[in-house]
């Protein structure tokens, strides 16, 4: 129980501080700390594979992209907007975050909690692989296609800047 409390504190506090900080790099690094906390929670819950996958994907890869984006778009802290520009933006922000919060809370509340005497299921990596490659193969493929489309879309949007037809000199 104490372990869970420590993990939860680290996760929540790092997320909260990341929101409050004005230094974008610090926020990004704290966000990575938050992801590590989530991975630690998976590890605590016995989901070894998911924990390592979380670290590999989020701490290893997504963090790089976040840091890259921050570095390439960074401006001086002075011209960062501290107050929202218009009232409609505030409204839009409140509505969007409220909707997300509602969906998440609804999912959390509607999930039935098992009783006190539960048997911990032992899922090996092999079971996970068989499940993903067998019954859920379709879902995995669909997710892959969606991510590929998103990636290609991002490349198309980003590559409109310079098109002089000449390739780079080798």
């Amino acid at each position: 129980m104490i372990t869970l409390l420590i993990i939860a504190t680290v996760t929540v506090v790092s997320a909260g501080v990341a929101l409050l900080l004005r230094n974008l790099i610090h926020s990004a690094l704290l966000l990575i700390g938050n992801w590590v906390g989530v991975a630690a929670f998976y590890l605590w819950a016995g989901a070894e594979f998911v924990a390592f996958a979380q670290v590999l994907v989020y701490v290893g890869a997504v963090s790089m992209i976040v840091l890259f984006a921050v570095l390439l778009t960074s401006r001086s802290p002075a011209d960062m907007a501290l107050a929202p520009h218009t009232r409609s933006r505030v409204l839009a922000a409140v509505v969007t975050s409220g909707a997300v919060l509602g969906v998440l809370l609804g999912a959390v509340i509607s999930t039935p909690l098992p009783g006190t005497n539960i048997t911990v299921p032992s899922v090996t990596v092999r079971d996970l692989g068989n499940q993903l490659g067998g019954p859920h193969a379709g879902a995995v493929l669909v997710v892959g296609v969606i991510l590929t489309v998103a990636l290609i879309g991002a490349v198309v949007i980003a590559s409109t800047g310079r098109d002089d037809g000449k390739p780079d000199a080798p």
Binding site: I25, H26, L29, I32, E48, F49, F52, A53, V55, L56, V59, G60, A61, S63, M64, I65, L67, F68, L71, T124, V125, R126, D168, P170
Partner: protein, 407 residues
């Protein structure tokens, strides 16, 4: 035939004897701590040795003697310098006593945390490598995944160092490190997928067990002796060089253009920590390469199995490390665009083709007799064809280079 069980279990016997002094309740804790201390001490001394070996080797390649003046401290009054064997010790004392300088505008917290984070992640990767038949510090079912998860996080250390230094060279190095490591992560992972696929397990120990035995009583069944294995190993080797920031991929610290990049604003022991992390990461990647492709602790020939397994592991590890140094001594540094081309246009497609060949290999596992040769032939052609085509396509228009001189 295998080595004598006493010799094989010697490290475990020593551990049990040491732990046996403690009360029953503390034994598992002491055992784990002992394993951690043993791994760190072994690799720290290997690090000290490697710095000397690397300097010596580079010097020999460049036709100079290398460091040879520092003898060992317990031989002070003799003429024998022992090939400069005391150099690592002298270096260590120098690093410890040097002034630690932090730039005034640097981000002090991150500047301090960067070397620690880098070293911590590098040490974490050492935990799952099977060093011998009974010598696995941490046995995990998803050990290979753990290894690459911990290894992927080392990039953050380089980035933190580069950004926190508040120096334009360091920041450029941080950007380069991010771009390079994220590019080479993909072929690295793709190159090990065939191994996991064919071995059917993610545990490093299990993968080594699968490589045991000898075909025709002579040839070891290591993964590197299969068509997909040798391709995977080649890709793994190249990407491991890039992941550990070694020449010819040492763009983040390029001392001639970025004055050592993210290391520019570091001095004293923090600087030494960076080097320690680099060597630890290199050792870990080499150890994983040995485990995945070179048969781990398995002996190369049946009658050589009398030698304990950990000796074979160390021998293979040192061979790979020396190969890393040899590459550093031979090849010049790449440009960043060449680096990206190599990763995205050559290594990633080749790794994907290799994955397909491994699938073919797995499906034809029951081919025996004369058909076995056909299996080899088909797999080899499936690999060699795309390799030649990709290489041709990428080099057209680049060679021969024309030189123009003043008349």
């Amino acid at each position: 035939m295998s080595s004598s069980p006493t010799l094989e279990r010697l490290p475990l016997v020593v551990r049990d004897w040491l732990v046996g002094w403690l009360p029953e309740s503390l034994r598992w804790l002491a055992g784990s701590l002992l394993a951690i201390v043993a791994v760190i001490v072994a690799f720290a001394s290997l690090f000290a040795l490697l710095t000397l070996v690397e300097r010596k080797l580079l010097a020999r390649v460049q036709n100079r003697p290398g460091p040879n003046r520092t003898g060992l401290p317990f031989l002070p009054f003799t003429k024998n310098r022992l090939f400069g064997l005391g150099q690592p010790l002298a270096d260590g004392i120098k690093m410890l006593t040097k002034e630690d300088i932090v730039p005034r505008t640097a981000d002090r917290v991150l500047h301090f945390l960067a070397p620690i984070a880098l070293l911590a992640f590098a040490i974490l990767t050492l935990a799952v490598i099977p060093y011998g038949r009974h010598l696995v510090p941490l046995e995990l079912e998803a050990g290979v995944l753990y290894f690459f998860a911990a290894g992927a996080a080392t990039e953050l250390g380089v980035f933190m160092a580069g950004w926190a230094s508040r120096n334009k060279y360091s920041l450029l190095a941080a950007m380069r490190a991010l771009a390079q490591l994220i590019s080479y992560e993909l072929p690295l992972l793709l190159s090990i997928v065939p191994v996991v696929m064919l071995a059917g397990t993610l545990s490093p120990g299990g993968i080594v067990e699968r490589q045991g035995g000898w075909s025709f009583g002579l040839l070891p069944q290591w993964h590197v002796f299969t068509p997909w294995g040798v391709t995977g190993f080649a890709i793994f080797f190249v990407t491991a060089l890039a992941e550990s920031n070694r020449s010819p991929f040492d763009l983040p610290e390029a001392e001639s253009e970025l004055i050592a990049g993210h290391l520019t604003e570091y001095s004293g022991f923090k600087y030494a920590l960076f080097f320690m992390a680099e060597y630890f990461g290199m050792c870990a990647l080499c150890g994983m390469g040995v485990t995945l492709f070179l048969g781990g602790w398995q002996a190369p020939l049946p009658f050589l199995a009398v030698v304990p397994s950990y000796v074979w592991f160390v021998a293979k590890l040192l061979t790979l490390l020396l190969a890393f140094m040899w590459v550093r001594a031979t090849l010049p540094r790449m440009r960043i665009d060449q680096l990206m081309r190599l990763a995205w246009k050559f290594l990633v497609p080749l790794a994907l083709v290799n994955l397909g060949v491994a699938a073919f290999w797995a499906l034809t596992a029951d081919w025996t007799g004369a058909v076995r040769a056909t299996r080899w032939l088909i797999a080899a052609v499936l690999i060699a064809g795309p390799f030649v085509l990709l290489g041709r396509k990428l080099t057209t228009g680049l060679a021969p280079r024309t030189y123009r001189y003043a008349a």
